[in-house]
Amino acid sequence: MARLVLDNITKSFGTVQVINGIDLAIAHREFVVFVGPSGCGKSTMLRMIAGLESVSGGRIVIGDRDVTHVAPSKREIAMVFQSYALFPHLTVAENIGFGLRLANTPKAEIDRQVGEVARTLQIEQLLERKPRHLSGGQRQRVAIGRSIIRNPKVFLFDEPLSNLDASLRVQMRLEIARLHQRLDATMVYVTHDQTEAMSLADRIVVFNAGRIEQVGTPIELYEKPANTFVAGFIGAPSMNFIEARIDSSGGAPIARFGPASIPLADAERRFQPGGVTLGVRPEHILIAEGRTPDFTATVEIVEKLGAESLVYLQTGFSPDPVTMRVSPEHPVKPGDSLPLCLDQNRVHCFASDGAAI
């Protein structure tokens, strides 16, 4: 069983603490994605799991073994780097079989295992080439091959697709998902791309400033963000934030912003009168056709993406443009004034400290 436990992990560089008490349990065969903005500590955390970075405090357990102070090569992990980290002077076959060669494995056995991995990754025809003569996607396959051949308990991926172009990234994402289905291994994957996180993860861990903001399935994070940071980070385009005031004078709480007001009818949520931030996903802003609009807004820019169009709106109550999705057939154009209403059941409320209400 290759479960991975991070127990109160801290990391300091001099007097600067960059990881602040991370607690996380990752189950056997689980695919967990660490996501967060640059400098949030996600890669440092991954490197600590790999043993490439020392731990200032806490414990790392892989399987049933405390590996906090164990050398990287003894942790039964494999790591795929953003830069691929392929040896330029070695052929693809030599790169994949690098670890076996170091372990003085007989050549015939190396060839057999390399051939097997190459077949799995469909790179048999590349085995005699040098990395310089490979495309980005092929190089990443070779790097993955080198990690597969180790037969590790835990795979670690450090932004492996960041250097690839958009279409190749989608293709490789699919291949990594397939690989996870096929291999009996736990995977930890670091990315700053939330789309990658959403599409690959069993669970996503959102990092910010060396802390975990929220852990959950992609849908949990999308539908029930714990705070404005997660709400803003997960989802593309990101959630719209609208400053509002709660008015409970009439009994049921009402959120007022600009000329608009919407009832907040969720009985589970306890609203205090005062300022709040409303969070509305772009798909939850609707054109009020045959309904009384909550507000009107002027179309500033329309981005036609094919499957949908993104409309950026100027409103009287938000300094930033508000984004909404519309069907690509909708004849909306810049300068139009649109009557809009919010899907009241899908409006998120955040307190002044950013926490979800």
Partner: protein
């Protein structure tokens, strides 16, 4: 417009091309020309002698002695600073205490002229009070008075040691730059794969230092081909021609025996050797470039 640009290009290139022609092309062409004559270096009266100067090379024992010495000199003058430079760079890169200070100390000799280096080492090799004999005496408890530069068996080796002392620092600095350019994640792969220090060195670091090695070897080859001053200062090619190289032999034939035609023929041979080595270098450089970009 294009024509005007072309004219300006010629104007700007004229001066450097002129200097290059006067200082390089003209002497080179003259050497080729005089190698087919019996010119003594002074007289206006000389004759074309065809290939007789080149034919003479085959029967000149001193030429063969110089060629062998040149081969020894070049191999040693390339290998020793290269290997020592690599060793020192690896040592300093491993962050030993005082690394930056050692780096400066080891680099210092390359800033000195060959004449100064030669004189320093003449003193070091001095039989009665030279540092080397004094140091050997201190270790062995004897009073050696070995004349390192006056014995045919040790003269060339002694000059090679002085040469290596001067040129190791340059190799070290180039290797240090090479070491810093090795991507950190490649070394991290070694860590994850469990490579021992020796495996890391043999399988990863030394191959990845190939571009640096190409530069170091090229510089050492070029410098060793030009290595005339230090031999001239320390031994003058002696004793009994034991440290005579082709460059030294050419000098002696041209300027001491006044056989400028024959000296020119030796210089042509030296030029062809240098050209061959440079040709090989460029071919290898292309291969390295294909792998390492």
């Amino acid at each position: 417009m294009e024509r005007e640009t072309g004219v300006w290009r010629l104007v700007f290139l004229a001066l450097p091309l002129g200097v290059f022609t006067v200082l390089v092309i003209w002497p080179l062409a003259s050497s080729f020309y005089y190698s087919f004559t019996n010119w003594n270096g002074f007289s206006d009266n000389f004759e074309f002698v065809g290939f007789s100067n080149f034919n003479k090379l085959w029967t000149d024992k001193l030429f063969f002695n110089a060629a062998v010495n040149t081969a020894i000199w070049m191999v040693a003058a390339v290998l020793i600073p290269t290997l020592l430079g690599l060793g020192l760079a690896l040592l300093i890169d491993s962050r030993i205490p005082g690394g930056p200070v050692f780096k400066s100390i080891f680099y210092f000799p390359i800033c000195l002229s060959a004449v100064v280096v030669g004189q320093i080492w003449i003193w070091i090799y001095q039989p009665d009070w030279g540092l080397l004999n004094v140091a050997i005496g201190a270790v062995t408890g004897s009073s050696p008075d070995f004349a390192w530069l006056a014995k045919p068996d040790t003269a060339l080796g002694s000059v090679i040691a002085a040469w290596a002392w001067q040129h190791t620092g340059l190799a070290m600095v180039i290797y240090l730059a090479g070491l810093t350019s090795i991507p950190e994640d490649l070394l991290e792969v070694c860590e994850i794969e469990g490579a021992s220090t020796w495996q890391r060195l043999r399988v990863v670091i030394i191959p990845l230092l190939t571009p640096a090695t190409v530069v170091v070897v090229a510089l050492n080859v070029i410098n060793s081909l030009k290595g005339f001053e230090i031999l001239y200062i320390m031994t003058g090619g002696g004793p009994f021609n034991s440290s005579d190289t082709l460059a030294m032999h050419m000098y002696n034939e041209s300027f001491k025996k006044y056989l400028m035609g024959y000296g020119s023929a030796i210089s042509v041979v030296l030029f062809i050797v240098a050209l061959t080595i440079i040709g090989i270098y460029f071919r290898e450089l292309k291969k390295v470039d294909e792998i390492y970009g």
